[in-house]
């Protein structure tokens, strides 16, 4: 005890050579503080990983935007748009039929400003020869639901483009901070956590085939469809903001030497009005853009699409059969009108695409198996 006191005294006077000097103490304190901050940051990061939705058993399309970064690069065609894109055109079929490399950047109810920034983001990784934009989202002049913003934006990699995309998309009660720190948005999920939240904390499943989302089941278009509701006055003309972003999309593509092709997918619901069609036709004519409306009788016939077999939800989205038919027709169109090359002779690319074909066939088989066993496809992975 007496010795202890003497040591303490020596410590106080700093005479013990074994005792650290003030500089070292400060350094140690700084290191400890840094370690504490690191522990806190790591804990919060882990917690954030745990709490953010994993999009495995529901809202699976939430995986799409992030998945792009795994197949970015070397794509001749980039599709942008909503479910009318990612459900309706088989990228793998475009490869197997024509050797066209294509990718999609689509998410549910993806609005035109989302699509525009998806193109900008894509240009950070590759410059496609063709950008295909599905025009349905021209009807939305403002964001409809915050949840769709999250599905489109959460998966984007951080860059100035993402920051701009968030700014352009946020609803009045959203904050940039909740995109920087998603835990601020998803913290209340703590009481709803499931096993999949742990299982897929760091690694997730692959949903798409270069952006295409497969469904093999069939639900025909019924003989009777809802009457098209009349358009309100403010729904007839597309909003100025939509034209502004279409202009931006067009000029961006022009500046990069990319051919912009506008399409309207052949979905029967929601209704595509003649008033909307006229505006897109006029715009395409004015700027010399290709516009393909798959709902037009001649195009529909040429694709061979059959609404009794080629849709899984009564005409709102195509199933695999429909998506392959559209890919076959549109692939030929792009080959002939955009001069796209057949890359199947490129061994490296062919090997890369073979692994995509393998996964495509695997998912297809799993879904058919589930369809046979359960009479329905309730998981994209067939599990």
């Amino acid at each position: 005890m007496g010795t202890d006191t003497s040591v303490k005294n020596e410590l106080n006077t700093g005479t013990d050579p074994g005792v650290k000097k003030p500089g070292k103490r400060v350094l140690k304190a700084v290191l400890i503080a840094l370690a504490a901050v690191a522990v806190l940051a790591l804990s919060l990061w882990l917690l954030q990983r745990l709490l953010v939705p994993k999009y495995i058993s529901s809202s699976e399309e939430g995986l799409l935007v992030k998945e792009y970064y795994s197949y970015a690069g070397g794509n001749d065609v980039l599709f942008v748009g909503d479910c009318e894109v990612y459900s309706n055109f088989s990228t793998v079929k475009m490869w197997t039929e024509y050797g066209i490399t294509s990718a999609m950047r689509g998410s549910p109810q993806q609005l035109i400003w989302h699509s525009y920034y998806m193109i900008e983001d894509t240009l950070r990784y590759e410059t496609p020869k063709v950008v295909v934009y599905n025009v349905l989202s021209m009807k939305y002049g403002e964001p409809q639901k915050e949840a769709y913003n999250r599905l489109a934006l959460d998966g984007m990699e951080w860059s100035p483009v993402k920051r701009q995309a968030i700014r352009a998309s946020m609803m009045s009660d959203e904050s940039m901070l909740s995109y920087v720190f998603p835990i601020l948005r998803y913290h209340s999920r703590w009481s709803e956590l499931k096993a999949e939240d742990v299982k897929y904390m760091f690694k997730t499943k692959q949903l798409s085939h270069n952006g295409y989302v497969m469904r093999v089941d069939v639900k025909p278009v019924p003989s009777r469809l809802p009457v098209a509701k009349p358009l309100k006055d403010d729904e007839i003309k597309f909003a100025d903001v939509c034209w502004e972003y279409l202009d931006k999309m067009r000029t961006l593509c022009e500046s990069k030497g990319i051919k912009l092709v506008l399409i309207k997918a052949p979905t029967v619901e929601p209704h595509w009005y003649d008033e909307w069609e006229a505006q897109i036709v006029e715009y395409a004519d004015k700027y010399g853009l290709d516009y393909v409306n798959f709902l037009k009788e001649d195009v529909l016939t040429a694709t061979g699409l059959d609404y009794s077999t080629d849709t899984f939800d009564a005409g709102q989205h195509m199933n695999l059969s429909g998506a392959e038919k559209l890919a076959v027709w549109f692939g030929a169109y792009l080959r002939d009108n955009a001069g796209l090359e057949d890359h199947r002779g490129d061994n490296d690319l062919a090997a890369k695409w073979q692994s995509k074909i393998d996964y495509y066939e695997e998912m297809k088989a799993a879904q058919y198996r589930q369809l046979e066993e359960k009479g329905t496809v309730d998981s994209y992975w067939g599990d």
Binding site: L11, L40, S57, K145, E146, R189, R224, Q316
Partner: protein, 202 residues
């Protein structure tokens, strides 16, 4: 001395350990606060499946709205659908169902003679609400007596509105909108709209 020095180091290590514990506790505190926030009614709604779902504002309450009749059944726009659907009886054809892309929420169109009826449910097990209707022939009449083919002047008379240049006339009652489309000075189409975003699933 070595022993004493080790003792000092142990104490220092104990301090470090305490600080780390304090940091961890701070984490827990932050999380507790965050968890506490979850109970605030203005936070984004989420469901048990982990989906981000639409934000909702308020449940439909008994407010002013439009109604119309089909036989003895009264259709109240914005009301719960079950009793109304029962009163309307069997439909001509299977309803057309439209799921929200990626999110929960189901829009259903029921087909009845003379009109389509729209409903919405926020999830599979949620309560179904009437969100609108479209008349497509002159066998149907609004609660106020407007029908397809009626002269434009009848709209002005029944709803006390001015007929301007627009072919669409929007008439509001509470949160419900009645949209009347005119063509050649006559009513061409009649639609009721009740905003689905005002509906909270039960």
């Amino acid at each position: 001395m070595k022993t004493l020095k080790t003792d000092i180091e142990n104490k220092t290590n104990a301090r470090i350990f305490k600080r780390l514990i304090a940091a961890a506790l701070a984490c827990v505190l932050v999380l507790s606060l965050l968890a506490g926030c979850a109970k605030k009614p203005d936070e984004p709604a989420e469901n048990t499946t982990g989906k981000p779902v639409e934000k909702t504002t308020a449940a439909p309450v008994k407010v002013e709205t439009f109604t119309f009749k089909k036989g003895s059944a009264e259709v109240v726009i914005g009301a719960e659908a079950a009793a109304i659907l029962t009163a309307l009886g069997p439909q001509d054809e299977e309803p057309y169902e439209s799921e929200s892309c990626a999110l929960e929420g189901l829009e259903i169109t029921y087909f009845y003679p003379g009109f389509d009826l729209y409903t919405y449910k926020a999830s599979a097990n949620a309560t179904e609400y009437i969100t609108g209707a479209t008349f497509w022939d002159d066998t149907m009449e609004t609660g106020e007596g407007l029908y397809i083919g009626a002269p434009a002047a009848k709209v002005a008379e029944l709803y006390n509105v001015t007929i301007g240049d627009s072919s669409n006339i929007s008439i509001k009652k509470g949160d419900c909108e009645l949209l009347v489309v005119l063509e050649n000075d006559a009513v061409k189409m009649i639609t009721y709209n009740y905003p689905a975003e005002l509906i909270v699933g039960g």
